[in-house]
Structure formats: structure tokens, C-alpha cells
């Protein structure tokens, strides 16, 4: 089909254009290491409270344990998610979503697109929702979730969240078997780059660092520091003594929660966390996420009366 995007980046660009046309604010990636697009405060925090919201963005995501030195055809320790969050979830969200597939060249009349039960839960964020994984010809191409709870708070109104795994989706649309062979920019460009040209080396470097080199003592200290700083930020009085204004620092605190979560993932990849400790660490990150959510709902963006 001539309408097919020719490269990885064209898929991203088309999604950006599509969701912009549907009224979403096109945000930029969050400037921290996260495990998934959901961690972006534009999703986690903005799903809370009564204010309406519509945002879409690409989020680079890191899962240290998934590193395969760039050799596995579809496993990466660093990859991209495309994330859409609309609050309240519009009644035609499924149709909007199917429109986005069309925009990237997936024609629903020749494919078999299915919504298959998949309930989403994030123990680290204290969040859950109901929805589906979306299958295209037997392949999972997106997650579709109606958020019910985040950070222990009921979502009222409910947000609809869409997450696209961009590499996998692009490989499918382009018919590529190995992620590293996928055209990153236009294959006819004077300097044509493949995904491997951009990321093969970094996958190797990070796989080695994640699995064997990262200093676990330093990481453990980072975890403790982030945890303590998060608490300290939230414990600060709501009124800023300098400006005299009420400034609850939900976002800076949440940054520390994100940091703790990523450090935990790194420690996990280093294999220094036992099965029983694992649950305890997840519980500690969840406690931070909940505290941040509690703080956010007291802010203006969180729907508290200004």
C-alpha cells in the first residue's frame, strides 16, 4: 500500500499529527528515565483530580532486564512508547483509536483487529484499570485502558489511556523481522539510517552496564536518597516562606519517586534483589507514588479549588 509510512519516524510523526488533529496537546518526552509512558507526570498525575486533560507524547522507556545486547529481534532495554491520555474518556475512544491505526497505514478492512481482555495493574504506582490489549492479525499492537485508580485514588472522571509500543508496531507496518533493520528515517534519504545505526551500539553498552557493571552499592544509596528526598519534599510546609504562597511540590517529589523506581529496575537487572525483597521494594516505591498522588490532588492542577 502506498499509504504505508516509510520509516520509524514517519509513524511517530503521523501519530503526532493525528492526535494533534483530535485535540490533544502534543507534549514532549519527560526528561527522566522511566519504565513506561505511564510514568510521565502527564499521565500518572494528570489522571488524578477533576480537571479535564488531553495529551499525547512519545516517551523513551527503559527496562534494564530486557537488554539483549541488540541481538534479539524485538527485545530492547531502551525503546519508545507512544502515549495518549484523555480525561474524561470520550465515548468514541475506540473509534478514535482505530482512526489512529488507519493513519499509520493499518487498514481495518484487510486486517483482523481485536480487543482482547487485558486488565492493567501497576503495583509500583498503586494503579489499575480495565481494558484490552489490541490485536492486529494476532499481534499485540497497543494497550487500551480505562484508569480506575492511580496512587490509591479513585479516578473521577475516568481517563482513557492508549499505549503503543512503537518499535513493534513499526516493524509490523514495515514488515521488518529484526528491529535493528528497520528504517529510522526515509530509506531514500541521502543519509539513510536504520534503527540499528542509531541504537545497536547503545543497546550493547547499556546491556553490559545494566547486567554487569552498574555499582550496586551506589544504586542502593541512590534509592535511599531518592526515597528520603521524596519524603522531605512532601513534608515541607505547604506555604512557601519566601513568596508567602501555597506551593505544594508534588512534581519535584514525584521526580524522586520516578528515580527510585528506575534505580529499583537497575538493581533488579543486576540480580541483587531476592524474590522476597522485590515485593518490599515495590511496596516502598508505591508508598512514594501514593504520597505524591495525595499531594497532587491538593494542588490546582490536581483539581483543588484555586
Amino acid at each position: 500500500m502506498s499509504d504505508k509510512p516509510r520509516s520509524f519516524q514517519e509513524i511517530i510523526l503521523r501519530l503526532q499529527t493525528y492526535w494533534a488533529a483530535k485535540g490533544c496537546a502534543i507534549l514532549q518526552p519527560y526528561d527522566m528515565e522511566v519504565g513506561a509512558g505511564t510514568f510521565h507526570p502527564a499521565t500518572t498525575l494528570r489522571a488524578l483530580g477533576t480537571n479535564h486533560w488531553a495529551a499525547a507524547y512519545v516517551q523513551p522507556s527503559r527496562r534494564p532486564t530486557d537488554g539483549r545486547y541488540g541481538e534479539n529481534p524485538n527485545r530492547l532495554q531502551h525503546y519508545y512508547q507512544y502515549q495518549v491520555l484523555i480525561k474524561p474518556s470520550p465515548p468514541d475512544l475506540q473509534e478514535l483509536y482505530l482512526g489512529s491505526l488507519k493513519a499509520i497505514g493499518i487498514d481495518a478492512t484487510i486486517h483482523d483487529i481485536r480487543f482482547v481482555e487485558d486488565d492493567w495493574e501497576s503495583p509500583t504506582l498503586g494503579a489499575w484499570g480495565l481494558g484490552w490489549e489490541v490485536w492486529c492479525d494476532g499481534m499485540e499492537v497497543s494497550q487500551f485502558t480505562y484508569f480506575q485508580q492511580v496512587g490509591g485514588h479513585d479516578c473521577k472522571p475516568v481517563s482513557g489511556e492508549l499505549t503503543y509500543g512503537l518499535e513493534r508496531l513499526a516493524m509490523y507496518v514495515r514488515g521488518v523481522d529484526h528491529v535493528m533493520d528497520m528504517p529510522f528515517n526515509d530509506p531514500d534519504a541521502p543519509i539513510a539510517l536504520k534503527y540499528g545505526d542509531v541504537f545497536r551500539q547503545t543497546e550493547q553498552e547499556y546491556s553490559r552496564w545494566n547486567f554487569d557493571v552498574a555499582d550496586t552499592d551506589v544504586l542502593l544509596q541512590h534509592f535511599l536518597d531518592a526515597e528520603a528526598e521524596c519524603q522531605r519534599i512532601l513534608d515541607a510546609p505547604a506555604t512557601d516562606p519566601k513568596t508567602g504562597k501555597q506551593i505544594i511540590m508534588a512534581h519535584p517529589a514525584y521526580d524522586q519517586c520516578i528515580k527510585a523506581s528506575h534505580v529499583f529496575n537497575l538493581l533488579d537487572a543486576r540480580g541483587v534483589i531476592s524474590v522476597t525483597e522485590r515485593q518490599a521494594y515495590i511496596g516502598r516505591v508505591r508508598a512514594l507514588a501514593k504520597a505524591c498522588a495525595d499531594a497532587f490532588v491538593q494542588t490546582e492542577a490536581g483539581g483543588a479549588a484555586a
Binding site: 484487510i110 483482523d112 480487543f115 481494558g131 494476532g138 499481534m139
Partner: protein
Amino acid sequence: MPDLLIELFSEEIPARMQSKAAEDLRKLVTDGLVEAGLTYAGAAAFSTPRRLALSVEGLTAESKAVREERRGPKVGAPEKAVEGFLRGAGVAMEDLEIRDDKKGQVYFAVIEKPGRTAAEIVAEVLEKTIRNFPWPKSMRWGTGTLKWVRPLHSIICLLVDEAGAEVVPLDIDGISSGATTRGHRFLAPDAFSVASFDDYEAKLKRAKVILRADERAEVIWNDATNQAFALGLEVVEDKGLLAEVAGLVEWPVVLIGQIGEDFLGLPPEVLQTSMKEHQKFFSVKKPKTGRIERFVTVANMETADHGATILAGNQKVLSARLSDAKFFWENDLRVAKAGMEPWLESLGNVTFHNKLGSQKDRIERIAALAREIAPSVGADPDLAEQAAKVAKADLSSEMVYEFPELQGLMGRYYAEAAGLPAEIAAACQEHYSPLGPSDDVPTAPVSVAVALADKIDTLTGFWAIDEKPTGSKDPFALRRAALGVIRLVLENDIGFGLLQFLIRAFFPHVKTRDGVGDERGPSLRQQYSNATGIDEETLFSLELDEARKKLPNPEDLTSRIDAWIDQLRSDPASDPNVIKDLLSFFHDRLKVFLRDKGIRHDIIDACIAMPGNDDLTLLVKRAEALAETLATDDGENLIQGFKRANNILTQAEEKDGVEYSYGADIKFAEEQAEEDLFAALDAAEAKITPAMQAEDFGAAMSAMAALRGPIDAFFTDVQVNADSEILRRNRLNLLSRIRNICLSVADLTKIEG
């Protein structure tokens, strides 16, 4: 007589919830209608991925008017009482009637409930049903508060009679009822209206939706088997998968696809599991070889290219999945061929239970126990021990990590790859069995030894840490484990005393846990110490085998433990402790098992009360023989005779303070019936004693039953409490012989009736 049509149209309902939801809809609505005073002729409910539908036929058009009278308080009763009555009856003061009663004037409320139209009732019942629907998990969406399994979009609520169809007006959180629905999401997305159930079903079919789940399943199965047949192949039957897939599509389109040549060498179970779990594919096999060569996928879509794109996509996804499986398989084979050492090592890091150690600890215990059990089940001890050591190695394999349901089976493949004997490979797979009441019981001796050791270790372990099942809670499936032991023993006709193995199996658990015991008696540690004659500290610092060497004569330990076992076995009522508590758990499971086979619980109790009750095979043979005997006329009457003898004797013994067990003497026999009984008892004893020694319970019991006639005649003709004290005592001693002979067969005092 109108018909009712309801459709609740939503976003995709999880396949596993659909059929129960349809049934719930039918029940809740029809129950509600009946409760409100309507009747109906029939009702049927349907589900597709996007809708629940209900058709009710022959509904009454309205409910009957109801007149109810309620008696209230007396006139002049406290104001509060009158107010309460008014509130309860829902009437005003001026509506009350005053009537004369025996005790004076009393208020009466006459409540007239007019008949209501079906429409009114249906609207009320449906709203209540939707708001209280028992979804396993439900959710809110948008700004609403209504909960449904996924967002609810539209409602059809239609009453249809000769005059035509009429929408029952209903508004639930902004969703109004109507007469329109939509067809297939992609093939016929436009809305259309319907006028009756038949019209609804027919129009849906035109709009590429098959309403009935069983019809969809039939289409899938027929298409799949036909397409496979045309290729000389056969679809592997899987009813659960068929039902699930029928819940994932509104318009099934069956496509049959190729499995890459590279993957055909994988074990068929791996192909099947990977395809089913990840992709919901059916497996298609060659009937002759059983080799899986193709797959069937069911699309929800008709396309211009007849599914070519869809099939190509599915094939690609499958290849990626099977590449993973092949990668696991090849890695695993490498480890297996090298002897599985790393797997066994890593099981040391896998906790079985935090009080019962790692899987590795457990395997060592099972191996030692399997070795002990082996001779009793006809297995080679070395093979049994070796089999137990590798039987769980596959738990560390990559394949079992990915597909836990393949545990055991992969063990078999890997043991074969490692070049281990066939008996060991079989034990890897079979030692988990039987898993449920319908699961087959292994018969190969090595498998039986490991299966028994596995289950006995589990049971003694959880008993030692006091984690027994309570009520409906049995998180470690201990009832199933005990039933497994029972079936392994009975179905293989294994005769052994269970206690010796329980004692052996408890030892390592007691060794690692202090103070396991029973508040009623000495702790198990003390009991082991007493029985072996070695002080606790020394004994529990050793393995049981090492302890043997500590004694001046190693045979001593064996014989001392044997003596302990004998003591536990010989008197079922003695010495309560954890070991015997576990044995009675086995007995309880056995009672349930035999009750299902039609043997009464009192018959089993009569046999459990006998010495040697830890030999379950013997116990069941005794119970079967007793049940058979009691089913005869002689047997049933013998029980009466026995009970009469026992009662008279017990009373006399209580009164006289002696036990009449000196033996009766025939020279004091006066009556013919008395002499006959002497002869009959002699004859019975002569038969019963050798029969019992030979464990021929049938012969022993029929000899016992033959006593019925002489005993009956004795009680008819002879008075036990004779005036002569000599005669009386002799007759009581004769009754004692009856009692002893009967009780040597089973404890007949436990028999009811």
C-alpha cells in the same frame, strides 16, 4: 401476551465472562418480572463480544391488582406506635379504618396495589438489573458513575405484541433505551432498528453477527475440521479453547496456516501450548503420526484478499513465538544432555515454603523417602532415588518457566535427552499424578515410589509446621495429596503400613523444627528420642541413617523404630500425636473416597478401629468384605445378635465388676441350643483364625455370619441370667466368646442400626 427483547450493547466483553453474564441477565430479569407479578412462557439469553441479549416470550401484559389488609395498633395506642404503623403500611391517618375486635377498636390499613403494565415493570427490573449486575470485575468510564464490564453504549428494550413493537422507555445515566443496535464493528458498523427477537437475530446475521455462541462454536469447529480434512489432517480437540474463541468473534472466519519447517521438531505439546496460550490457535495434526503440522486461527473479519494478509500476519507472530520456544528448547536440551546439574543447583534458590526449605531440600527428602518406599512397591531403590533426584529438575528449565503447565512433561523429554533410563524419564512426568479425581494413577513402580514420596513429604511437612487444611481452606492442596496417596496405594493394590513411612518422612521435618508435637502428649522430638533410645540432641544432629551407626548394634535402631511402629499400629486408640493425626486425616479422606463408592461410613469406622489400619489396601478389603456380609440377611441379623450379646455382657460386667473371659465350659450346657452354639463357635473359630491370618476377610466374615442361626436360637431358647450362678457365669463367658470372635473381624460396635 407480549414478548420482550433486551440488548445491552457495549465495548468488548472479556470472552471468559460472556456466558455467565448472559445467564445472569436471564435469571435476574425473569426473577424480577416474576417477583413483580408477571409470568412468562420461556426465556433465552445470548452473548457476543459486544452484546448481551435476552428474549422473553409470552409475558403477561400486566400484573394483577393486589388488595392487602394490615391490622394495626389499638385505637388510643401511643402516637409513636400509630406513626410507625402508618410508615410501614405507607398510608395516611385518614386512610385507616377502625374496626371492632375482640379486645376493642383496632386500626386497619387497606392497601390497594393497582395492577401495573409490563412496560412499567420491565423498565424497573431492567434498571435494577443493570445497576446491580454481578460482573466479576466492573468499571466506570468518562464522567459517569454507572458500572459495567466495559463502557455500555446502548440498550434495546422492546415489548412486542400483535399491535407491534414498543420501546420500553428507560434512561440509565444518559443511556436511553431504543430499538436500534449495530452490526459487526468493521463489516456492518451502521445502526439499524429491530421489531422483534426474530427480526433482531436475522438482521444481526445480515450485519455479520452470529448471535448464538454455540452456533459460532459450531461454525468454527465445522470449518476447521473440514479444512483440515481436505489436507488429510485433523484438528486437535480443545473444548475450552473453542468456547473462548467463540467469545472473541462475532463473525468467525476460519483460516488454516503453516508452521515453519524449523519448528516442527519441537515436542507437540510445546507447539500446542505455545499456540494456544499466546495466540488462541488450534493445533492441526497428522492423524497417523500425531505430529502437529498446521494451525487454525479464527479471525473476526472477511476481507477482499480472503484472509491472506491476516494469515500472513498471524504466521509471522507465530514464528516469533516459536523462535522463543525453540530457543528455550535448545538451551534446555544442552543443560539436560550435560546432566542437569545447574538446574538442580538453582533449585536451592527456589523456596518451596519458608518453613520447609528450598525445592532442593525437598528433593533430597523425597529421594531418601522414595528409596525407602521402593521395595514395598516393587521398584528398584537406586532407580527410585535417582528418579526423585531429577524429577523436578525441569522446574528450572526455560521452557517450564515460560509454560508452567508443561512441568513434568518437559522433565520427561529432558531426562530422555540426558540418557537416563526410561523408568526415570517416566517418573519425571508421572510423579505429579494423580492430580485430580479423574487423573490417571501411575502404575510403573518407580513412578509410584516417587509419587508416593512426593506426596508424603508434602503432607508430613505441612503437618509438622501445623498448616493443616481447615474448612474450605486448603491452600496447599493437602486433601488432594492425601487422596493421591490413597489412590496410588489402592489402584496398584499395594499392601504396606503407612506409619513406617510417615515416621521416616516426619523425621527430617522434626529435625529442622523444634517442639513439633501435641499439647496432649510429648513432642514428636521426645517421642523419636524415647523410641530410639538416643537423646534428642544427638539424634537430631544426625540423619536417621547415621543414627543407626551410633548405636552399639545398628540393627537396634531399626528394631526400636519397628517396635514403635508396631505399638502405634496395634492400638488404634493409643497415644495421640502428630503422626497419628495425619493418619486419621488419611482415614477421613478414605471415608470420603469410599462413600463415593457406596460404602457406609460406619462400616469404614468399624474397620478403622482395628489394628493395622495404616495398611489402606487391607483396610479397604476388610471394609468391602464387611459391607458385603452386612448386605446379606445373615449378616444383618448377626449384628443384632452380636449387639444383644454385647449389651447383656457389658451390663453384667459392669454390675459384677469382672470381665467374663475365662472361657465357657460345655459341660455346663443344659439346652440343645446352648450346645449347638458351643459347636458353632468352635467351628467358626477354626475357620476365622486361619482366614484372618491369610487376610481372607470374605471367608472370615462368612464364617462369622454363619453364627447368626445358632446365636438366634440361643437367645430364643436360653435364658442367660439363670438362677444358678454357675450357669449364668458360664453363659456370660459364652457370650464373651461371641464378642471376641466377632470383634476379631471388625469393631462391630461401630455399626449403626
